[in-house]
Symmetry: C2
Subunit: 303 residues, 2 copies
């Protein structure tokens, strides 16, 4: 006999107090990075019989309401928090809602986490440019909008890496060549446009994200400049479309981050001890947007 019987999840939840659901909390769903993390985490969770509940905290109001209100209470057993830099009160609120939490892109004592060594990543990206012989290298960083819910510290790490690489190479840092922009194509395009107009041209640009780099490429090409002949550009993320525009970039195994976070949370939910923070080392992916600098006369400078 075949028994097509299935227990009612709701009744089971009531009786056990466990929902077999985990929430994935992101500041913004429709961005490549978040979609990728969610997809990767979701697959692992689904394999283990967990439902995934999507929570997008895209505005400050939503964020406040989420942490001060009932939030996840009774809806999920645990949460994967991606990219949000939680305040201590927020973190405690989440635990107060009965959630086990795992962080992606931030760390906190006593919580599982997976993050990236962005300082090393930034340094590797810039070192790649230095190794190619570049000496005038601009940095295009991420500026958080006031309304943003990211509250992001980590991109600052990439800037530190930039400085590390410069110092390492004995290159001076020119503050006018450290730009910031909203993390979007338009942000990157605008910042580089400003650079072209005012600061003269570096031979290379290190962007703190691929989206910024895409914008940089657009502006450079729109101005008739060739990449990499006139300007090299290196991004950060290894975005799904980085290959499409032949962008050299730093890969930080985004889906691996999602999978690792899911496994960490499953472990905690399975009453395993909290594993230490897991940190991922980014890896340089060389494509066609970087090359040795060419001086005005057209000759290649020595590395």
């Amino acid at each position: 006999m075949e028994l097509g019987y299935t227990a009612s999840p709701t009744a089971s939840r009531l009786a056990t107090g466990r929902t077999r659901t985990v929430a994935v909390i992101v500041p913004e769903l429709a961005k490549w990075f978040f979609a990728e993390v969610i997809a990767a985490a979701g697959r692992v969770l689904a394999e283990h019989g967990y439902d995934v509940l999507l929570v997008e905290l895209s505005t400050a109001e939503l964020r406040r309401a989420f942490f001060t209100g009932p939030g996840l209470r009774g809806r999920a057993d645990g949460a994967i928090v991606v990219a949000l830099q939680l305040g201590a009160d927020e973190f405690e609120a989440l635990e107060g809602q009965g959630q086990s939490v795992v962080l992606v892109g931030s760390e906190r004592q006593g919580a599982g986490s997976v993050s990236v060594d962005d300082r090393a990543g930034g340094r590797a990206a810039v070192r790649h440019l230095v190794n190619l012989g570049h000496e005038r290298i601009a940095f295009l960083g991420i500026r958080h909008e006031p309304r943003s819910t990211l509250g992001g510290v980590p991109p600052a790490q990439r800037l530190l890496g930039y400085r590390d690489a410069l110092a390492e190479a004995g290159l001076p840092e020119d503050p006018r060549w450290v730009l910031t922009a909203e993390n979007s194509v338009d942000g990157g395009a605008g910042a580089v446009a400003g650079l072209l107009a005012e600061q003269g041209l570096p031979t290379a640009i290190a962007a703190a994200s691929d989206e910024l780099a895409f914008g940089a490429l657009r502006t450079l090409r729109g101005a008739g400049l060739r990449v990499p002949e006139d300007v090299s550009v290196v991004g950060y993320d290894n975005h799904g479309l980085a290959g499409a525009v032949d962008l050299t970039t730093m890969d930080h195994d985004v889906s691996g981050q999602g999978r690792a976070a899911a496994h960490a949370l499953l472990a905690v939910l399975g009453a395993a001890p909290v594993a230490g923070p897991r940190v991922i080392s980014p890896r340089l992916v060389v494509r066609g947007s970087t090359a040795p600098p060419v001086d005005r006369a057209g000759s290649t400078l020595p590395p």
Copy 2:
């Protein structure tokens, strides 16, 4: 007195039989289109107090298991099905699981739906090329992989639109210029590479998706061809990064589709009658990847 009291959702679900949750079912989460639809629908649903449960049916096995097993029974009140072309059995299975369903990208008698007039869209894209004076226009369509869960009919509509536009302009259709590829950057790149190698060059390419178009651009530029001077390219989707590569494309209001689907489902859940299918008319977005053809001698042909 402030009452921080909140009812237990689980108990409430058990008692009422309603979960205040809706599932969003997609074949693949980490693609721009799906992420965008989910985000837009999710916002509307969240505003109305619904939780969103993510279901990714990325393989044929998952798909079968989902529809033959318990699926959503007891987990959600309704489902938004994006892009999957459901068989009658699958649709009924979903209803048998107690779900109200709304379709995105397909239609079915008795169900709410939002879809796109892809034939008109395809025709508009190609007509744009025709109007610019192109006469040798290739079509780059989507081929579904055997393992795909899309089972997609709709992209075929875009091909019909291509034929419409050609016929309308009195242009012959050359079957060698109708290509298909997996819907990805690499797919598009590969197909166009084949085109360059074998069929000679059309003056324009109409792609059935922006991802395919991105691939086409990569191959063309990699081969030293200029876009739009040597070849015009028009995409389809108005992908978030289409602007970054200056791609002319068809916009079909992707987030609008998500919002409309959410509203339709909310209406049904609120016991409103099923609204008729909603169909969206795509809109041409002209950017820099299309221009009049230039003949070998460099002069512009008359339109």
